[in-house]
């Protein structure tokens, strides 16, 4: 009798154990299903479409494994591709230059205003990306205050304008992705132990050297995260070029959008999207490897 009892006991234990083992998978399931439906399937669709060719009728395509789609896509949109990375790079650089002092001030010098300032940094998110860009169009536009002031000061002549220029596109990109730069920077600066700076001063480093040798290296995780969060979406963005640019400032996002929606060249658009994705991935990997962030705590 007692052995029988023992037996059922271990049996139940086993069942409980298997249940426990499965638990992590159950918890992961919603995420995995989500990823399959909204990431893996579309990616497969994209890759598959990129080698198709036109079938009968507009918008119908058949799989023919035409890999020269990629070469066609590159040759026809080389300029826009390079311009995208150029603009994204400039916007990232400007965002970094603007954000670093801002994040530094919020992290170390803001005192009781810290939370207020953080809310102000996040505040633009309460308004849609598109609307904010349209607002910039108004601000920089012919009826806007900026251009009127510049003309009043005779810096700009009647024929000069701000909208429909590369400047406006880069400025728009910089503005739109600024919080993505500031917040990670703030987070990593705020985490720096103030005693590190004291120790640096104690070891004969003046304020500037302390900043170069201690503060900047310790904030590198924030710099890497911020630049990635700015560069990646900026490289693929088409709203800013559309609303603030001219035909000469078209970015790769605009080309892809046009191919999908206007020309209905799905394989071309898919090929360009893949090229953009892979290029960004390679650049990012090279960058992260170079920055060596994994060595930082």
């Amino acid at each position: 009798m007692s052995t029988a009892l023992l037996h059922t006991g271990t049996h139940e234990k086993k069942a409980v154990l298997t249940k426990k083992k499965l638990l992590p998978y159950w918890l992961l399931a919603p995420g995995i299903i989500w990823l399959i439906i909204f990431f893996l399937v579309p990616i497969y669709q994209l890759i598959s479409t990129s080698t198709q060719t036109q079938g009968f009728g507009i918008g119908t395509y058949v799989q023919t494994y035409r890999f020269s789609n990629f070469i066609d896509a590159i040759t026809s949109s080389k300029a826009q591709l390079f311009r995208s990375f150029e603009y994204a790079f400039l916007a990232t650089a400007f965002a970094l230059i603007i954000s670093y002092p801002l994040a530094y001030a919020v992290a170390f010098k803001s005192g009781r205003w810290k939370n207020t300032l953080l809310v102000l940094i996040v505040a633009p998110f309460f308004c849609s990306f598109l609307l904010r860009t349209v607002a910039w169009e108004q601000i920089l536009g012919e009826q806007g205050l900026v251009i009127k002031l510049l003309r009043f000061l005779h810096i700009f002549g009647a024929q000069d304008h701000l909208t429909a220029t590369p400047f406006a596109v880069v400025a728009g990109l910089t503005y739109n992705f600024l919080p993505f730069m500031t917040l990670p920077l703030y987070a990593s600066l705020e985490r720096i132990d103030i005693r590190m700076m004291e120790a640096s001063g104690d070891l004969y480093a003046n304020a500037l050297t302390t900043f170069r040798k201690v503060t900047v290296p310790l904030s590198m995780p924030g710099v890497v995260a911020g630049t990635l969060l700015t560069f990646i979406p900026a490289a693929g963005d088409y709203i800013n070029a559309e609303l603030l640019g001219n035909p000469g400032t078209k970015m790769i996002g605009n080309v892809i959008e046009a191919r999908y929606l206007a020309i209905v060249d799905y394989p071309g658009a898919a090929a360009l999207s893949l090229i953009l994705m892979v290029t960004i991935l390679v650049l990012v990997m090279a960058y992260v490897k170079r920055a060596g962030t994994e060595e930082l705590v």
């Binding site: 004291e198 120790a199 001063g201």
Partner: protein, 379 residues
Amino acid sequence: MVDASTSAHGDLTLTNLTKSFGDFVAVDDLDLVIPEGSFFALLGPSGCGKTTTLRMVAGLEEPTSGKISIGKTDITYEKPYKRPVNTVFQNYALFPHLSIYENIAFGLRRRGVKDVDDQVNKALELVELTHLASRKPNQLSGGQQQRIALARAIVNRPALLLLDEPLGALDLKLRRAMQIELKWIQTEVGITFVHVTHDQEEAMTMADTIAVMNEGKIEQMGSPADLYDNPRTSFVANFLGQSNLIKGSIIDSSGGNAVVDIFGTKVRLAQDRNHAHDSSVLLGIRPEKIRIQPAGTSMHGNILEGGVISDASYIGVSTQYQVEMPWGQELMVFEQNDDGTPPLAKGDAVVMSWEPIFTFGLAGDQDANAGSEANPDSE
């Protein structure tokens, strides 16, 4: 490079040094001379102003008033990076992004020293961690980080090394080992060490001279033995070790020994250990100096009769007794377990005695418990 960071040498002198934060006076009109080459400890409970004093010397805090100088050089308002002072920070503050080697080389590189490699290796040898040069700080144990923090400071050969609770984060055994090592290193390099701690045992083990701080002022300064055997205030008597302080009055102070009446019993007190202003006195005696025997035993020296043991705890090397006296006070007695007799039990009537030279007398108008709450040993 001709600035204070290389030229200043000599005693550290604090003159009328005061630091207030709003209404709170952290350091109150402090006067202190720390001789060159000594191992000096600033000892006190948290909030007594010892760390603030240290930070003012390091240049991390600006004094409200007063003066700090090393030798003849006034450094009161000198920038931290121009002072001939290095600090071993609490929790070490090693740079996590730099290797151990680069951490130690940091100060040398900033000063543009030529033989960086040679000096870093010597510093690593001094703390016996040469094999860890290429590691990062987070790959080291607490004790190793502590020694690297020390090497990083010492390598610069400052006129003054400040240590802010340097052993606070280590466990007891490691702390003991590091105490001995720190003392040895100080003797080896001959730099003035100023050590801030709340741990009286740590201060007594390492320092030549201890200044006991309380509420922004120095209560007493002297050698560890001097402070322990001849405290001048009840705070010092209670903060450094434990003391029995009994109210009494001096009835005869004509001889070399004063005669003190404590609740009807007459005991003797050496005049050079009597710090009372008038006849009202707190008579002090350390628990381990008291001998304890069953009532009726004949004893010599200062004798107290009528005690009853209210608590006895056997702790191996000694037995600790609480003895309730007829006037209601509980006295502590630590008795070595070295004579083969079984410990006395709770409820036993006892007689106690001690040699008059171990008695000290404090001014009778003080709080007899001052400093005992702040003492980590009595918590």
